[in-house]
Symmetry: C2
Subunit: 334 residues, 2 copies
Amino acid sequence: MSLADSVLNGDRLALARLLTRVENDTIEGREALDVLFPHTGKAHLIGVTGAPGTGKSTLVNQIALSFRKLGQRVAIVAIDPSSPFTGGAVLGDRVRMRDLAGDTGVFIRSMASRGSLGGLAQATAGLVQVFDSAGFEIILIETVGAGQSEVDIARLAHTTLVVEAPGLGDEIQAIKAGILEIADILVINKADRPGVESTERALKNMLEMAHPVPKIFQHHGQTLTETLPDNPSPNASLWFPLIQRTVATDGAGLPQLIESIQRHAAHLRQSGEWLTRERARLEAEFDLFIQQELVARFRAGLPEAKLAQIMESIQNRKISPREAVSVLLNGGVS
Amino acid sequence: MSLADSVLNGDRLALARLLTRVENDTIEGREALDVLFPHTGKAHLIGVTGAPGTGKSTLVNQIALSFRKLGQRVAIVAIDPSSPFTGGAVLGDRVRMRDLAGDTGVFIRSMASRGSLGGLAQATAGLVQVFDSAGFEIILIETVGAGQSEVDIARLAHTTLVVEAPGLGDEIQAIKAGILEIADILVINKADRPGVESTERALKNMLEMAHPVPKIFQHHGQTLTETLPDNPSPNASLWFPLIQRTVATDGAGLPQLIESIQRHAAHLRQSGEWLTRERARLEAEFDLFIQQELVARFRAGLPEAKLAQIMESIQNRKISPREAVSVLLNGGVS
């Protein structure tokens, strides 16, 4: 039986093995993904992102436990792109396993961030597809830090949670501005700490700057089409991000958070947004493969000596990189 | 006279116009870059990166003034990728202009971060080429925040400064770990603040983790080749990052910092690293153009209906994106 078939049959060891092959982008991994692809598209992908210190890992743990209580199978993909040289995955399997140990309805995968950012998002997409095909209904994708990596990985998710905490300092907020834009639900964790009010106020202000449409809609009762800006985000126009307080260490606020996550999923399905996101994601994947394959084929057909000659002309500033590409692709003499 | 020729003749208005065209990636901008390319390769590109709150902009200002006093022409490219929706460039031209106003040996360009990250690095590379060809000897590239964007942009620079400040909190350090790896010089700005000792200690520890080779070399007197790890960074093996304290607001530490920057440039030239970095940069640029052009040509030759049909098969999970690409490029029947 192939590894892919074993995964479809619920074999956990096969699952672990296949995840490694997919993460390493091996040929077996790629072929298995092709086999599994028809079985994907069922899971609810939930991205959880936020800076270190927000208690995000504990929150992910609690979310997983909550969905388990509802009888759903949960996979966690934890990514740590903050430290390329330590190998990442600091808050790894062991700490989490205390709560989730022995539960075969949960599978946790920590992934160190090595290599390029694009590669990381691609590898994550692969892991998610494996879990999806293996019947995990909830897939939590946890990312550390704040930056483009989170935005890229959030594009994978149906629902994106951005986790904040009181007292992390105003200066940090500036970094987070870009991250807020991707949030479907903003979680203020550690909400028993002082400063929670001002954090919530600051987040509300930032949200209103980032998502002006629903605000106008609510305030003036105009119809949606009248208030749409030139280039609205399809999400912003229909779902105004929620702010939710939690204390992950004792589970406070978790039931409300789970309800909001489920409400968001229902909203996505009813509005057709679920399908739209699914399509955009598959199209992006298709585009990436096209690009990789075209470059690989071009490279394979280009004699080593010819490439070296062109690079020398560029390095001697005789021809610009763009001109060199044009000469090369038009088959002209260089 | 073409815009490119005017720029080569020192026309500041033409320079400003061309920078806009290059930033917007227009055809005129691209063609002008081809014309200017043979005149590039002279400037010392200095990346300055660090989190908000480190006083990085003031430091960039002071570095610019210091190089001006040495008679060198200085360009500043300031990038703010932290806030895609506010349009960025908060600490823009006006604040800086107080110190540098009226000096034609200085040119400052603020760039808002819109669109993709790859696009941002590409646009920055274009601006840098324009300044380089226009005879600016020092080009400071300032980026806000901490993340992959900084790493990408740092690849452009010959010398990368990472700016820290005391008292920004331990939790932030985790984010910065990845950033430290790209630092040639670590600047502890606001060094008159309490906590400077512990910040320096923490940075030293992180540096030793990130750059083990020179440490072993120093401690045991072994030859370099004996202690090289399997996959050494060419920089780490020859230059151990310096830590430098500054107080940008009153200029303290600036002469030492400038000296270190110049020492790093001399090191790069003597070791051949300058040329190596230059080549890697041009090769990456060439690769990017190849990729963009191949995809553009492929798209142009693909009938709309055919693409729609393939996307439908993918969306219905009949064929995986990777299989679809394979079918398409092998000219098979889908």
